[in-house]
Subunit: 395 residues, 2 copies
């Protein structure tokens, strides 16, 4: 599947050798003209230096030209030195591209607590600047990977009335995935002209329904960031908040983010399959969300899925432990369409469900019979692979 690249953006990648060797670990995304920009960041109280810097910039700025990204080092828990390093990275990129420093955003992912190897990073930036335009957006997707096993990129085209443009995005995921307001790292670009308020609202809505309902391990990162840049190279009349094409843009953006969040769940550290938890007929929207996230994070449910065990008792216990309001005797549970529990008791179909679970996607539907709200969360199974990756991550 090839990616439709929005016009007016240039890319480059390079091997700076920050942590990994034999692969690219820095990337630059650059808009040829000023792009309207919006971003959402982690709600973790411990924020990485790039997040602190970008947040401060985006409090006032509504446009940007470039985003520089590295993998292998998160530049988190690095104190003042980390902030100085993040500023210097932006300054070097700005100098190389002859643009203003405040038009450069920076994003990092990787090990926490280790200062950035700035010599390598600076020489990496030189390479990025020299080679700008020689890489594709797919190359960017590969360069930002950490423990991901495949690069994550997707795109959409909008062709409706006077609007003809493209939206593309790259993301990285794998571990420490339980975002609140964002996922690990995601960069979205579009050549459509979109007014700031519309861009911000559409991003917030799409992220709330996709990346924020995604969990691999219940761990919120220090670096979670989602950026969107809209440079208007498509030449359309700007999309406005609540205006004619706002919904089209918003739904397309949602659809794109949805595809990426499924990819991230499917590629969770050590995961062998995508797990889709649907909670139905909850008493409140919050109840539905809390229950779906709890089940999606349950190590006992996730290991049972891995073992093809339709162990619905663990699902019941997990929902029960949240404290949300429901009656056990009204709950029914389906796994890949097979009803394993009805009115809180076994239907005797566990073994049929266990067979039906041997698929790449496992859908667990929990009908609480308590109200009318529903929610859906993406997750993955929990395997020995997760342990191995994370016991040996820094060695």
């Amino acid at each position: 599947m090839s990616i439709l690249t929005p016009r007016g953006f240039l890319f480059s990648v390079t091997e700076a050798g920050i942590k990994y060797s034999g692969r690219n670990d820095m990337a630059l995304i650059c808009s040829e003209g000023d792009a309207t920009v919006s971003a959402l960041f982690t709600r973790n109280r411990v924020k990485a230096a790039p997040v602190i810097l970008d947040r401060a910039r985006l409090r006032y700025a509504r446009t940007a030209r470039a985003i520089v990204v590295n993998s292998g080092n998160a530049n988190a828990c690095t104190g003042r030195r980390g902030l100085r390093d993040a500023e210097r990275i932006c300054a070097e990129v700005a100098k190389g591209l002859c643009i203003r420093q405040r038009d450069v955003l920076v994003s990092s992912t990787g090990v926490i607590g280790t200062p950035m190897p700035m010599e390598r990073v600076i020489s990496g930036i030189r390479g990025l600047v020299e080679n700008l335009g020689k890489s594709s957006i797919e190359d960017v997707a590969s360069a930002i990977m950490t423990t991901d096993t495949f690069p994550k990129a997707a795109s959409r085209e909008i062709n409706r009335g006077n609007i003809k443009g493209r939206i593309a995005a790259v993301a990285k995921g794998a571990g420490m995935i339980a975002p609140d307001m964002a996922t690990m790292l995601c960069f979205i670009i579009t050549d459509l002209a979109v007014e700031y308020r519309a861009l911000k609202a559409a991003l917030k809505d799409a992220v709330g329904r996709t990346f924020n309902l995604l969990t691999v391990d219940g761990e919120m990162s220090t670096n979670d960031s989602v950026f969107i840049m809209a440079n208007g190279a498509a030449g359309n009349r700007p999309i406005t908040h609540g205006g004619r094409y706002f919904n089209t843009f918003g739904e397309t953006l949602f659809d794109l983010c949805d595809e990426l969040s499924r990819m991230i769940a499917r590629d969770g550290e050590g995961a062998t399959r995508l797990l889709i938890i649907k909670v139905k007929r909850a008493l409140t929207r919050r109840d539905a969300r809390v229950a779906a996230l709890k089940v999606a994070n349950s190590p006992l449910v996730k290991t049972a899925i891995y073992g093809n065990d339709a162990n619905w008792g663990r699902i019941m216990a997990s929902v029960g432990s949240t404290g949300i309001r429901f009656s056990e005797e009204k709950v029914s549970i389906k796994i890949n369409g097979i009803e394993v529990a009805r009115r809180g008791c076994s239907t005797g179909r566990d073994s049929i469900a266990s067979e039906a679970m041997k698929t790449e996607e496992v859908v667990v539907e929990i009908d609480l019979g308590a109200g009318r709200y529903e929610e859906r969360v993406y997750s993955c199974d929990l395997t020995e692979g997760y342990i191995t990756i994370n016991a040996e991550y820094r060695t």
Copy 2:
């Protein structure tokens, strides 16, 4: 280490073949006379039938004679049939022992969602009644095991002034351990005379400081129960709430529960070591507790401990994700006494700490520098063993 058995209690165990074979899976604890009783149960909304039954009984009753326990089947998510089965178990024990049905409590642990194999259970009860007095409290500890790798029993002697008596307890743990008001199953017996209000208060206090600050996998069970029976066989003047020996009794009970909760953490499913998380100088007591539990449940911290990786960045991220109030630049972290982070940044001593971590107990101290409250939680590392046990539990 041999267990000091309180006087006036009789025990028996039997192999009923409920799920396991070649081992005992039912146990009976019986006091020769009426014993004052108190208990704490899971706060899971989905409660097993024995929990529902015992809770209802103990709402009015303050004494009991016997507790019958089985492993292999939790009798949870079994609907009305489960309740009828639990009642029948009590009735059969009462008939066999010629005592009143309401003086019998029942407790189960094992698979959720499968009806009890009542024929085997009933014939098991016959064996228990016939053999009463022929087993030791250690035998009970073995019979209630599920995925535990060793039986858990402990005892204390109180010999102070006019008070001379014993407290002993058995517990089972291993998986689905994140109790709130109780742990999986724990049975405490003492030959001291203790008034009901004193017994209840001492139990609640001890459990709050031990089993409720214990987590293996963040999963709250449907069957968590802690029982205490005090039969007065020691002949002391009853210990009263706030009376002369109340503190001695309470602290001894706490100490006993503390020993058992360490055992449960150390024997968490797949665990290779005990993990002790201490949070210091938090702004509030709740903050200290929330932070300690979050770190103790973090799969990234737990896998790092397993891999002897002093990855304090994950600890910072985990604390940050709780939303409690603290400043990153005031945090220091010690692992087994080695300071790995000071003022939020690396001390460069990760490799020294990684060496110092190769012990059976790993102590993580997080000084938040925010206030004056502290809390301590027991947990364990997360290994491939947890995955294997739980992916294959029902097969």
